[in-house]
């Protein structure tokens, strides 16, 4: 009896929670499918009588949305991959060795999480300008990469620590160098952890707005969040375009997430169990 009651309340809780989480998504999807006039008309229509793709057609007409999506993908993926390569190395070293300065380096990485990024905005702009990287996607890849290295290192270090070092020692006794042991033995075991770090990095990059506004000038190089920000007009938020853009910008992350969430949770779990 007690168990059934618990089961019931569990179902109810999960149902309510699902509703709360899904409704905003539903509402933005519905808004994006309404004709302009219906978006603002009373009473609100929870199930639109007329569905139209006008908003989607509109945003592709007024802006080069496909190009922005491409740019966002390019920048987000490139940076996430570079972050992985660099952070795997530093995390591995920090997990496997103790040396002078170890603690300080960990602290230096951790402390970056506390720095309010906007303090550095003007000096960074000047640096990028001097390096000739303004209006160049490399500046975004560079900034995104740098921003993610510390957290990814901390996160991956946790994964490495849960993998017994006997694993690569065995390989090294077999004659592998440490590099090959890392690439061949450890990284495959770590794949779930690496996947979740990658997704974390991708999502951060995909969503970043302020640096992208500052560093990129040309329309052909703009990323999605900048385009979305452009729907805030002088006297109007173009809600039709905004909602359509929102739906389009959410899709890749949701797909990635749905595809990989098994990895994330299981990866974290698996890593933990090994420890």
């Amino acid at each position: 009896m007690k168990l059934r009651l618990f089961g019931m309340s569990k179902v109810i809780y999960l149902a309510i929670y699902l509703l709360v989480m899904v409704f905003p998504l539903y509402w933005i999807v519905i808004t994006s499918l309404k004709p302009q006039k219906d978006i603002f008309s009373f009473p609100l229509k929870y199930w639109p009588e007329r569905l139209t793709l006008d908003n989607y057609i509109h945003i592709f007409k007024i802006s080069k949305f496909h190009i922005y999506i491409g740019n966002s993908l390019l920048v987000a993926i490139t940076s996430a991959i570079i972050v992985l390569v660099i952070a795997i190395l530093s995390a591995y070293v920090l997990a496997r060795f103790k040396f002078r300065g170890h603690r300080q380096i960990m602290l230096a990485f951790f402390a970056t999480q506390m720095l309010p990024g906007f303090v550095a905005l003007a000096p960074l702009y000047l640096m990028m300008s001097n390096m000739g990287l303004i209006n160049n996607r490399i500046s975004l890849v560079l900034m995104y990469t740098v921003g993610l290295i510390p957290f990814s290192t901390i996160m991956l270090r946790g994964f490495f620590e849960r993998i017994p070092s006997s694993l690569e020692e065995a390989a090294m006794i077999d004659g592998c160098s440490r590099w090959t042991a890392l690439v061949r033995i450890i990284i495959p075991v770590m794949l779930p952890g690496i996947a979740s770090t990658f997704i974390f990095a991708f999502v951060q990059n995909w969503n970043e707005l302020f640096l992208a506004v500052m560093f990129i000038d040309n329309d052909a190089l703009k990323t999605l969040p900048v385009a979305m920000n452009s729907f805030i007009l002088k006297f109007d938020v173009d809600w039709g375009a905004m909602s359509a853009g929102a739906v389009l910008s959410i899709i890749p992350t949701i797909l990635l997430f749905a595809f990989a969430q098994r990895f994330i949770v299981e990866g974290l779990t698996q890593g933990a169990e090994k420890g």
Partner: protein, 313 residues
């Protein structure tokens, strides 16, 4: 900083002698240098330069007149009621966002621990908020909170819960609550994911032992689960609090600090000083104050929760 001298290696290989030691040194250096170099060059260096501006009268609209003014920006900040309000708001913002994100996240993780049919899909639908940008979340909730054509008012009216529209974002009594609601909505997923992972890693032998002792499910949770996942809880709440404190994007999208600065937190106020006022001096001063607060918080937090559990930083 990193002399590379190996004090103690975790494992037996380090006993192999000089050549091996040297190899390790090279390995350590080459592993760390890319990360360290990038972070030093593109995080710490511009940041230190930015900090200098906190002691300058540095306004973009009056660049010919940039000069050092000592602690002037700090004095201005502390005598500005808007700043004091933002301090207070930051405290509310972090505290309530964190508490509710954690509570809902933890409950959710507990309920999702046992597999059930459709759990994967369910997780997909409740965790996606984590993948959205703060700006977008701000916009979506701004759209829903709108007091005239917003759906939340409409639902509450139709259900008869309220009888006149609430200015969720315009009434200062509500505005801060509203932005916190949006932030909780956003952040529950993070806790749920992290804690779910931690929960699933609790070895089942531990529970078996507890069951043999006849423990109730609450006892099991309190005596077995919580202690086991405590390091994760500490690490996630610590980091999360810092992120929540530092991230202005939800507020930027939702209210941009209004009405009358009543929803500014320190980070959004700093953004405001940069984007609209071009006053980098004031912004940097706020930034420094934020760092001091975070340092105090971190030290306090780690000493209260006994640092070692959060991993050896």
């Amino acid at each position: 900083m990193m002399g590379g001298e190996i004090v103690a290696a975790h494992h037996t290989l380090s006993t192999k002698g000089g050549a091996e030691m040297k190899k390790q040194k090279v390995f350590i250096l080459s592993g760390l240098i890319p990360a360290l170099l990038l972070v030093l060059a593109f995080t710490y260096y511009p940041f230190l330069k930015g900090i200098i501006m906190a002691f300058q009268d540095y306004k973009l609209f009056d660049l010919r007149n940039v000069h050092f003014i000592g602690l002037g920006n700090f004095k201005n900040a502390f005598s500005d009621p808007k700043f004091l309000m933002a301090m207070q708001n930051s405290a509310y913002w972090v505290f309530f966002s964190l508490i509710f994100q954690f509570l809902f996240g933890f409950t959710l993780a507990l309920l999702l621990k046992k597999p059930f049919k459709g759990r994967g899909i369910y997780q997909g639908f409740v965790f996606y908020s984590w993948a959205l940008s703060g700006f977008l979340i701000g916009m979506i909730w701004k759209w829903m909170f709108n007091s005239q054509i917003g759906v939340i008012n409409d639902i509450l009216l139709q259900l008869g819960i309220i009888h006149e529209r609430i200015g969720f974002l315009s009434d200062p009594k509500w505005a801060m609550t509203s932005v916190i609601i949006a932030n909780v909505w956003y952040g529950v997923a993070f806790f749920a994911i992290m804690l779910l992972a931690a929960l699933q890693s609790v070895p089942s032998e531990l529970y078996e032992a507890a069951v043999m002792d006849g423990a109730s499910s609450f006892r099991k949770l309190w005596n077995v689960t919580l202690p086991y996942i405590m390091p994760t809880i500490i690490a996630t709440t610590l980091l999360r609090a810092i992120w929540i404190f530092n991230d202005p994007t939800i507020i930027y999208g939702l209210t941009n600090g209004g009405p009358a600065g009543s929803t500014h937190i320190l980070s959004s106020l700093m953004l405001d000083k940069i984007i609209y006022a071009g006053d980098y001096g004031a912004a940097s001063a706020i930034g420094i104050i934020m760092i001091v607060i975070l340092l105090l918080y971190t030290i306090f937090f780690l000493s209260v929760t006994k640092a070692e559990k959060a991993g050896d930083f």
